[in-house]
């Protein structure tokens, strides 16, 4: 669906307003601070990334799965569905949407068990608790919540194009790609068009590598306020990471996180 972002459901239905996003999160933000909320989302983005790497999925699939997870929690509280279940569900759905073949049930669950045990032992002392029928049920809720808008535009393709146009060296391009990956740990994929995210990441990489790109950016016909908006999300992420040790803090955060009420209500 290249080149049709402006007519896409992504543009029409899934670019949200920052105020709305904060309003939707009110229930969770009564329990968690904004920073704690972001740390939890970072954790589950990392979880998706690890699942993707273990399953040898392309970054595009990982990014789409992450956007699915974020879209779900943009509309619902963390207590509606445990993100530990939603994350593999998003990976499962994204792998089908991105046409990279279906992941078999056994492989998905065993990968979850393996990743939780080997990579996230500091967050979970017990084994991955979910079974495939829960993933399949959860897939329905995810589809429904996103109003079946499944085609997600990502910054990677525009990034490559801009990089070529700017005659970017491979180090700078590599860095900007990494920054795009980092951007999945912020809300920018819910708030800004992917090409603007790409531009902001490229600009940041140029600044880091002392590459003069002022002229090129000055000639762009785009909303520089939005680019600045993306940049400020990125900078606050890097600020947060400076003093944050996930291994030490996440256990307490996960305990504090609102959870589904597993007792049937009477």
């Amino acid at each position: 669906m290249a080149g049709n972002f402006w007519q896409s459901a992504h543009y029409q239905q899934w670019l949200l307003d920052k105020q709305d996003l904060i309003k939707e999160r009110q229930a969770d933000l009564q329990v968690l601070s904004e920073e704690e909320y972001q740390k939890i989302m970072i954790f589950f983005t990392n979880f998706i990334q690890q699942l993707g790497e273990t399953l040898k999925l392309r970054q595009q699939v990982v990014a789409t799965a992450t956007v699915f997870l974020k879209r779900f929690y943009a509309r619902y509280s963390l207590k509606c569905i445990d993100p530990l279940l939603l994350a593999p569900t998003a990976v499962f759905l994204a792998s089908k949407v991105e046409e990279c073949g279906v992941i078999s049930n056994n492989r998905l669950i065993s990968t979850c068990q393996q990743v939780v045990k080997n990579k996230f032992g500091y967050a979970y002392s017990t084994e991955f608790p979910y079974r495939i029928n829960q993933v399949l049920e959860c897939e329905f809720y995810l589809l429904e919540n996103m109003d079946c808008c499944l085609i997600v535009f990502q910054p990677y393709r525009p990034l490559i194009q801009y990089g070529q146009d700017l005659n970017c060296d491979s180090d700078t391009l590599q860095l900007s790609w990494t920054i795009v990956n980092d951007s999945l740990r912020t809300d920018v994929c819910l708030l800004y068009p992917p090409y603007q995210i790409a531009l902001a990441c490229l600009q940041l990489a140029c600044v880091v590598h002392n590459k003069d790109c002022k002229q090129w950016f000055a000639e762009l016909n785009t909303d520089m306020d939005n680019i600045m908006g993306v940049t400020s999300h990125l900078l606050s992420l890097y600020e947060l990471w400076k003093n944050y040790d996930e291994k030490k803090e996440i256990l307490a955060l996960l305990q504090k996180m609102p959870k589904p009420n597993l007792q049937p209500s009477r």
């Binding site: 669906m1 896409s8 089908k96 949407v97 046409e99 495939i132 897939e139 589809l143 808008c149």
Partner: protein, 295 residues
């Protein structure tokens, strides 16, 4: 599900049963496509997801509209606008006669739907009369996008064997794994001839070999000169060298000269030289198309 009253079974789709139903709120007639989920471990089938994904992005009068997706206790139901019949059934009621203006109108609408998909980088990949829906006002709509895909995203290769044999182009029959919009244009050509002949299929091959031979008997066996790269296709094998013995005017006697020219430009073995949808719509054959169809 309470909202829709099932009326009758219409048929079996790629991944489930299709029912005609009435929307109790609006009284509109719709088609319900029930997606089966029980028998494998795929979750929501890829073909259904593909259709949902693409139709969410495709809003056009020549493409069947996805109205809603319902989900209730492990069942997924896609709600489509209802059309009276598909082109196959339409052919069955014709008794071998079709108005040339109807042929032109249907062909133009098919091309317009395809042009819209192709502009959005989407291939249908499974065009055949059963997948073209017709309603009482003479409107034609592309349906069943279960095999369609967005081709803008580079993937290693496309899966082979996706188009029903009769409408499959020679490059795909030779195992080409990287194809583009030209795959649909070949199918459109076959459907055009079938329209002009009031439902007699142009190339009803029984297997891949028979299909290729039928094509080459009609168009002449291509050579490396007329189709560079042909002999390097994965499943290429030399076939007898057939000369062109029958003309399109014999095969489609009711089609006028301009119409035959469109057909000739669509049925080209070399996919690079096949006409695209936009050019086909601009062909002089369509010059006298009634403005009510065009607009």
């Amino acid at each position: 599900m309470q909202r829709y009253e099932k009326l009758e079974k219409i048929g079996e789709g790629t991944y489930g049963t299709v029912f005609k139903a009435k929307d109790r709120d609006t009284q509109a007639i719709v088609a319900l496509k029930r997606v089966r989920l029980d028998d494998d471990d795929e979750g929501v089938p890829s073909s259904a997801l593909r259709e949902i994904c693409l139709l969410k992005e495709l809003h056009h009068k020549n493409i069947v509209r996805l109205i809603d997706v319902l989900h209730s206790d492990r069942k997924l139901t896609l709600v489509f606008e209802h059309c009276d019949q598909d082109l196959k059934k339409y052919f069955d009621c014709l008794n071998g006669e079709i108005d040339p203006d109807v042929v032109k109108s249907f062909m133009f609408q098919l091309l317009r739907g395809l042009d819209f998909c192709h502009n959005k980088n989407i291939l249908h990949r499974d065009l055949k009369p059963q997948n073209l829906l017709i309603n009482k006002n003479g409107e034609l709509k592309l349906a069943d996008f279960g095999l369609a895909r967005a081709f803008g995203i580079p993937v290693r290769c496309y899966s082979a064997e996706v188009v029903t044999l009769w409408y499959r182009p020679p490059d795909v029959l030779f195992g080409a794994k990287l194809y583009n919009t030209s795959i649909d244009m070949w199918s459109a050509g076959c459907i055009f001839a079938e329209l002009a002949n009031a439902g007699r299929p142009l190339l009803p091959g029984g297997d891949v070999d028979d299909q290729l031979k039928r094509i080459f008997k009609l168009l002449g066996t291509p050579t490396e000169e007329t189709w560079p790269g042909m002999s390097s296709l994965p499943d290429y094998r030399p076939l007898p060298h057939y000369p062109v013995t029958i003309s399109l005017s014999q095969l489609c006697p009711k089609l006028n000269a301009k119409g035959r020219d469109v057909l000739q430009r669509l049925l080209v073995c070399n996919p690079m030289q096949r006409m695209n949808a936009a050019d086909a719509m601009n062909h002089p054959y369509f010059d006298d198309l009634p403005s009510c169809v065009r607009s």
